[in-house]
Symmetry: C2
Subunit: 417 residues, 2 copies
Amino acid sequence: MAKVEKLVCVICGREYQQEDTEYTCLSCGREGILDIRYDYEAVKKTVTRDRLRSKSDYSIWRYGDLLPLSRFDLRFYLQVGWTPIYQVERLGRYYGLKSILIKDDGRNPTASFKDRASAVGAVRALEKGSRTIACASTGNAASSLAGLSASVGLESFIFVPQKAPQAKIAQLLIFGATVILVNGTYDQAYDLSMDACEEWGWYSGNAATNPYLIEGKKTVGLEICEQLDWEPPDVAIFSVGDGCTIAGAWKGFKEFYELGLTRKLPRMVGVQAEGASPVYRSFVTGEKLETIIPDTIADSIAVGKPRNYIKALNSIRESRGTMVTVSDEEIINSIKVLGEKAGVFGEPAGVAGLAAIPKLLEEGFMDRGEVICHVVTGNGLKDIQSAMKAKGTLISVEPHIEDVREKLHQRTSQEGD
Amino acid sequence: MAKVEKLVCVICGREYQQEDTEYTCLSCGREGILDIRYDYEAVKKTVTRDRLRSKSDYSIWRYGDLLPLSRFDLRFYLQVGWTPIYQVERLGRYYGLKSILIKDDGRNPTASFKDRASAVGAVRALEKGSRTIACASTGNAASSLAGLSASVGLESFIFVPQKAPQAKIAQLLIFGATVILVNGTYDQAYDLSMDACEEWGWYSGNAATNPYLIEGKKTVGLEICEQLDWEPPDVAIFSVGDGCTIAGAWKGFKEFYELGLTRKLPRMVGVQAEGASPVYRSFVTGEKLETIIPDTIADSIAVGKPRNYIKALNSIRESRGTMVTVSDEEIINSIKVLGEKAGVFGEPAGVAGLAAIPKLLEEGFMDRGEVICHVVTGNGLKDIQSAMKAKGTLISVEPHIEDVREKLHQRTSQEGD
């Protein structure tokens, strides 16, 4: 139950009170993303290491005093957040790193990081008296919003472009969402969802432009600090699509730092796919972001018009971080590396950051002794097609031990060549 | 570090010490499943409510004093177990039940209940000095064993029948398993895997016949008791394929009861698909189990030759439980009901038990005021194809608000008819 002091537009800096506007800046329109600021002096009194240690709620709600919600009685039962963080020695050895930490956010209720945002969005919708929530998405954000809405009895309307894959639509239907198939692009579906929210008073669960949802995302930064016993990593790597995941995580790291709970901040690394790298280009050139047509297998970060790039770039610059691009081939290889070395199955966007590690070492951005943290943002089961592109060892045999013996012998001989 | 007192054959009752045999009864062969018994007087001293309450390890390893392992330093980092249990009011209202509890075991590392078994199997393999583990399966058991083996650096060989679906093979390859594609049936693949374990000294991770793996499964029963503050449910529902999941859960409930930690036992309900119900038939007729050719969409319980049916039937009879069959149509409908009412996405076998609820009420097996617990044994993302068979609301629109208005209006009018 944090006291929200103000909401600040990331473009013009205009300040608002919560009752003034729910989503974006009234001057800058839908581009004017807002950033929520709290009365941190008040927060300091309730958010302390000791108080957190005594909490038995292992979910994002343990950070209720840093979330912009007032009706905590509306929190729901699905356990979102407090996903495990693993130090994986074999993966460290593979990359030649002293320490790599993997936080598996594919362990959330609908199997992606997005549940953090949807959880806060769903409770906010209930607080505002909405019975209906809507968003435009084909991916994790949509299934997450539909699933968490279902759990609290909110009706959900999900706007998806017509070419969205059947499997992703199936997941939405299972959660009881009304799926609106838009004969147009993702951007048209997005605009339509916002228009519909205005027309029918539905709550907008579009994470990119709803400042409450990004507050849910910041819990990953808070959790990492607490799970690592208040010693944040040196480097935190996130894949970047729209930009609000890395921005959210950074807000979490920064708030705990400013509250005096941690004594350092990680450098943030934003990783984009080569075929969908508008934020990267803007980072490198310093020029205004140019919209592109995305082309990558990492569908969760295949964003041509990132709506939260200003927040993303701010987080990278403020933290003295950097950006890197990786190829689809490198992404597919990373799925395999993570599976083999850690026993964790990530979706393409969820492992893209791993592919950046050799480049970050080569460029001298980080050294092998630093503590690196990588968040796997989605479960690999969400995209079996991409996983199937990775190579593996498949041996066909007749149902006799003699044949197994022979085939394994052949393989060993070949490996010895 | 429980002291194993003996291993008892479920067929002939012959008793063994741990060093005598690793898998099955030496007299009864591969049919002679063993049951592990501990020195419960010793266990009583270390497994107490207070001791458990003070543990900060929220995984199956918190029950180490009731597991047949000695080298706890070999426990690995992947967080297996302690999956959330939810009281879902909306689902209760749907079924007309006062209280229904959903335990979401799809939240395990490889997204299924099988991780409980594989975790114990992998540690046991390491204890025995094995570098390699093997099993025959096309489903959750295989991906689980491959994933957990990868996390500890064990090499894995998975024997699968040639007709296994590509997607399931992909998951195995991602975890670095060597996949042996057997030109034959599942039963041939199983026998071949056992032969290969004997020939090369690999550890057998076949859950059906390895008594250590079932000990991992029992942790679900232990957890339910502890998570419900030592008040077990009146009825616990499990889907039944091979039979060792329900048998494992029952062993957990029973051990806590016999240790004096709980004061009652749930009645166990075993649910099979109509097209794969050999255990059900044996339960109803009282006759010896007859092997069948399974035909159901619930692949995780599509077992024609259940190897653990004796243990399964024992658990149902001992607990004064019952068995029910459900149709594929009822299973698909349950996927939708669970998704819509609870926000949980289960695979067909993972929701089959829900489909049994109306029948159990109708038959008078349980009444509406009892506490029912259903374990969702696998994540729905494992089988998108089946989920797509469920009906949902899909509306196609042109990218204009006018069209959305019209289509929604049409739908409302139709609903009013």
